[in-house]
Amino acid sequence: MRPEPNRLRKYIFIAIILGLSIQFLLEYVLISGAAASTEELRVQEAQQAEFFEKRIRPVLTRNCSGCHNPKAQVAGLDLTTAEGFLRGGESGPIFNKERPEQSRILQVIGYEGKLKMPPKGKLKEDEITDIAEWVRMGAPWPGAAPVAAVSEPGKWAGRSTVREFTEQEKKYWAFQSLTHPEVPKVKEQSWVRSPIDGFILSKLEGQNIKPASPAGKETLLRRATFDLTGMPPTEAEIRDFLADDSPDAFKKVVERLLASPRYGEKWGRNWLDVARYADSTGNDEDHRYPYAWKYRDYVIESFNKDLPYDQFVREQIAGDMLPPPNSEGINRRGIIATGFLALGPKAIAQQDKKKMLYDVYDEQVDVTSKAFLGLTISCARCHNHKFDPILTKDYYSMVGIFASTKSFSDPKPLVSQVYYKPLVTKEEYDRYLEKRKAHQKLVRKEQLAIGEIIDTAREQLLATQIGRVAEYMIAARAVYQDKADPASVSREKQLDPEILRRWVEYLKPGRVRLHLLEWDKTDPSNLKTVADKYQAQFNERYAQWVKVLNEWREKYRQSVATNKEASAKPEFDAGKDRFFHEVLFPKGGPFAVSQDDKARFSETELKNLTEWKKKLDELKAQAPQEPEMACAVEDGEIADQKVFIRGDYHNEGEDAPKAFPQIVISSPGGPPQPQISSGSGRLQLANWIADGANPLTPRVMVNRIWQGHFGEGIVRTPDNFGKMGERPSHPELLDFLAWKFIESGWSVKSMHRMIMLSNAYQMSSQADEAAYSADPENRLLSRFNRRRLTVEEMRDALLAIDGSLDLTVGGTLQSGLGTDGENDNKRLSMNPEQLNRRTVYLPLRRANLPSLLNLFDFGDATTASGKRQLTNVATQALFWMNSEFVTERSNNFVRSLMADKNANDESRVKAAYRRIANREALPEEVSSALNYIADYSRKFSSEQSINKAWSSFCRALMASNNFIYVD
């Protein structure tokens, strides 16, 4: 009988194991034979077996085999057999034969490292001791050959994650080269105005669906204007377009809109969603990125000037490495562009600094791969991608590029310092640093001089007062507790009244202070004793402190004399003695002296103080001006990246030389892997992504552009072209557009033209019943997708209604560096309802985005997000009903309506419709509005009832679907 294949495999396996065992056994006998007789060996073996069965196996079974068994093999580890134990897990061997005491298993069960096992709780001490003992014996496992594990470091850790791609993976649509599809032939050829229409109509005809009729001119103008500029059309623009009967009337509109600076503000914002743009680090400390706005302005400008997209890609990844224009010293624009990599969320107070850095590289891999390639490469950080042919090695090959790129000027401090790059040459910046150093030295000198005057004054004060601590304490108690009159107490005891006042202030109960508990609890009979204790302690501490200070002074004098760097002036460590510290140092403390305590200084001292202070102020005003900076990256120390097994940096695996995803490299016609022999590889990455042969880059971008017009992409998951993303509804059209995109020189504006001048774009958002039922989700585009305004469009359009929108371009409204107090209002983003700039220019504190933006589905600015999920919820309706911002818009607008003396009520209603809904009102809408206004002012009559009624009407129209939906 022929064994079944499975069984056969099992036999072979057993044979191998036996073979290995015999070999190991021989080895063992040979080695140990020299030291022990066979008999001794047998006894020893029996003892060890007993020890194992009684003390070790039960512990393993109880605590480990739940996960580490042949079936589950969590972390690749099986602890039910000797083979499994000796083989170790994914992270390598757990047993070290040469140095058993260094075996990983002991660290892990000892809870010494990051990995702690068992996860549910540390083993009992005696269990740990037993296992340690057993491991020291050489981990004898009865029934199996007592063998050495494969214990060379690296051998198992080097187990590669690389695997062959399946045919299916290789053939996945997104990795195939671009095709150059022909425009399909259709029956209704007359509908085809642009090649796009051929692709759309052919699918519709295949399903017997008719495309919707063309949209009306008002609708089309509003649609196009919001699409390209994020703003409503003005009344003049509406009038002009309605009056223009020429066949290229709409083409002229498109050109006008593309030439408007408002275009870059709208499409720049679309890109900023993808670039997860914000003006602070978010996560833990939310430090400001003080120069982030330069990147934002760069993006807006790039769209406005139709920077070829391939160049846009290159600049954002490696702009600092591209040759400067006009061969000036640095590529200013290119440096700013790398803000794309620099502006991500960062947990800068994370204390595991290596992990923090790798989280940043991860974030950079993530945003780069999603934004440009539509790939979720970061999913492969801990294991090969579960759905796409992206290997862990691919991931770390890309991580290596960012690990060789500098994002921090100094990651080591408690709060790591983010890197800002000077926008001047290195020489110029070094000169600045020199100047700053010299200046800081001067400042320190002045500060020191002031400090010395103050210290001297304090010392003088103490010279007479130090012995009177106890007296002051007792006197203060008489004041705060027994309500004695402070003036008479100080007179009677001959105490300084000001110092007594401070002692009272300091000692009076209210705050909990451990170091004053004894004093607080003392009963009157014991007062003196306790006060003397405080006095004694104070004396002792003061003597020590003066000694420290004088020693430093001596050293300082010497270093000044020898022109050496002086050590910093010592500061008293408050935790050492809080009583002493509080009495002596903080401003207003009983014996403290500050610049404001004029009575403590002699006239000369006061004069000197004032002079020094003046000098210091002058000096500070002369601080050298910092050169212009940018939030940007540059090449750092070059890293030889390894795969981190399970994403754990403690656990290095095979080498991951800098490279790009194998599946794309190996696709026929795909862009080849360039040589990366020096540098970070960022420039090579940039060029590789921007290579026309890269099948993903052009597809991903034309899909984003398409989505910006139709509300949905041809691929409806714009940041994920992988298996878990959606398939293209019109793959040929996608390729056609990508091809034309490259052919146009990667011109985004030419794509807008091509799309907007098609019949597909100009369809009505209404279609017949048959089209709805055949394709409810409108995947085949039988009609235009009606869409809700984004929050930026909504707010900007509201501000445009009453003419209060400030159209200043660029710059920043954010000021300051670092972060703010934990619950300071400044932690909030600036309130959009109190500003008049376009929304794109409002600074975004990542941790606390403006609540208006949150409310209307802005997203969270933490990962590349090419598509917002727009919602319709009650809390949004509350904004329309109750926001002062909305009422202010309508009140202002009504005032201007009323100011027009030539207008009548009917024309005012029409004007409101034009301004708010951007179209002519229907006659029934006019009469409806007039009825409402009359009725409102009748019902709620008041002094301003007419304006109030009009304002109500305008607000209602703004709140209505006429405003917030674009047909």
């Binding site: 549910k120 009650a874 809390t875």
Partner: protein, 487 residues
């Protein structure tokens, strides 16, 4: 529908005050039933699977199985209260006070400044019938010991506040994921449609800020609604607890009158555009908002409570009145069916120095309000299905810092839960002898999340949302339900 027919309908819809058009009348007139609209188009598959409707993604949904708790009140102690000074007594620290830590110190926040072992300055005493030990910092909470399920073996990964807060609320310390409350209302909807389902009272702006009650990639509908923030005083919040909730300018009559007109315009707009569920959804959103505006403010009127109740929460004492107000408001919201409520004692517990002074003051501010909340919930029969959670973002080290403080310790710290189906008078898990590492029944934050969802009747592995090509969940790829704590 012919154009002529439509036109007639539109004609009939001209606003005439004597004949306001009800939605039903309009639907009849236009010959369209609500059910004929395609409602599903805009809903994600997940939402459909959960039984949400387009108009109301927050409609209550059945849990995966019979829940123990229907709602959660999370009392968050921002800064990191010390476990070994509150709920986890350590004899060894008394014995070895001043001696060095007997093993290598794990990664701390401030590596430079560690002292020797430091005993707790507070005594522990048994509380209730169970005798569960609680330190003198919490005498009032100690009276409720029989309701407390203290977890002494919490483990997190963040040694800095930001990472630790984010992990406590979202499960991960470095990536932005939906917060616990967002997952809860995503899974369960909420019971009172006139109030938000997830409310964060006076939340902290720092250490993750709004991400700690945000919905991240879940639809914005599931984000928490903030009631002011920790930097504001109660008096600054009371009058407008939820942004845009109230209108001081117009009377309800005026607003209703205007809303009828908005809806009139919207109906006309909708009649000209068929088959678009989002238009109807927005019309409904306005109606819901109007009801919310009328009914929600009452929930925030803490002043309406009896003096006895207010005093129970310490509203009569300046020390306790802020957190007391938060706790009492939380009870009012819980009573009204809000699913997930966070109260925050913001950023006070971070005693790197002066542990005694700081913790004494902090505990005074919250002890009475918390005990008041537990007692009040119990007497109203609400505690049995309300899960109360008390937690900081981590605990503090058994070794001193800066002379008289303690550093951050995420390796083994205590939280407690009460009500909502947990065992009372019970301590779960343990730390090592000095209280540094959790060693017994370790409860990682993922396990804590899995357990909290379990109590709400949700299987943490099934509560997923597809985003960016992956099915995400609160517990990432981990999480084990601690069944031992379930009553």
């Amino acid at each position: 529908m012919t154009d002529k027919f439509l036109k007639e309908q539109i004609q009939s819809m001209i606003y005439r005050p004597e004949r306001p058009l009800s939605r039903r009348a309009w639907l009849r007139a236009a010959g369209l039933g609500f059910g004929s609209l395609s409602l599903s188009a805009l809903l994600s598959d997940e939402m459909k699977a959960l039984g949400a409707t387009q108009n109301n993604p927050l409609a209550p949904r059945p849990p995966h199985f019979e829940p123990k708790a229907k709602r959660v009140i999370f009392l968050f102690m921002h800064g990191g209260p010390s476990s070994i000074d509150t709920f986890d007594p350590k004899e060894r620290l008394i014995r070895d006070h001043g001696k060095p830590l007997p093993f290598n110190r794990p990664l701390a926040f401030d590596k430079s400044d560690a002292g020797p072992l430091m005993k707790s300055p507070w005594e522990f005493r048994p509380g209730g019938k169970s005798g569960l030990p609680v330190s003198d910092l919490f005498p009032n909470v100690r009276d409720c010991a029989d309701d407390l399920c203290v977890v002494r073996s919490m483990v997190g990964e963040g040694v800095d506040h930001g990472a630790a807060l984010l992990q406590t609320f979202t499960g991960t310390s470095t990536f932005i994921r939906p917060s616990m409350g967002s997952w809860a209302i995503y899974g369960l909807g909420t019971e009172n449609q006139n109030l938000p389902g997830f409310i964060a009272i006076k939340p902290s702006l720092a250490h993750g800020g709004a991400k700690n009650w945000g919905s991240a990639f879940l639809p914005g509908t599931f984000q928490g609604t903030a009631i002011g923030h920790a930097g504001l005083k109660v008096d600054e919040i009371k009058d407008q607890p939820i942004e845009y909730l109230l209108n001081k300018r117009f009377s309800p009559d005026e607003q209703r009158f205007e809303l009828d007109f908005i809806q009139n315009i919207n109906r006309r707009h909708e009649a000209l555009r068929q088959n678009d569920p989002q238009l109807e959804a927005r019309i409904q959103a306005f109606e819901l908002a109007f009801r919310m505006q009328a009914e929600a403010p009452e929930a925030f009127m803490v002043d309406k409570e009896s003096e006895a109740t207010k005093n129970l929460y310490g509203l009569d004492d300046p020390t306790t009145q802020d957190f007391g107000w938060q706790c009492l408001l939380a009870r009012r919201l819980a009573e009204r069916g809000v699913r997930f409520i966070q109260c925050t004692h913001s950023y006070k517990w971070d005693q790197h120095t002066e542990l005694y002074n700081g913790h004494t003051q902090n505990a005074r501010e919250v002890d009475k309000p918390i005990a008041g909340l537990l007692k009040d919930l119990k007497s109203r029969g609400l505690l049995k299905d309300t899960l109360v959670i008390w937690a900081g973002e981590f605990g503090r080290t058994p070794v001193s810092q800066g002379g008289d403080g303690r550093d951050h310790n995420p390796y083994g710290y205590s939280i407690w839960m009460a009500g909502g189906g947990v065992k009372g008078g019970f301590a779960y898990g343990a730390t090592d002898e000095v209280g540094y590492h959790a060693v017994e029944d370790r409860m990682h934050i993922h396990d804590f999340h899995a357990t909290a969802l379990h109590l709400l009747g949700l299987e943490h592995e099934k509560l997923t949302y597809r985003y960016s090509g992956r099915d995400f969940r609160l517990t990432d790829v981990a999480g084990v339900v601690a069944k031992k704590i379930v009553a």
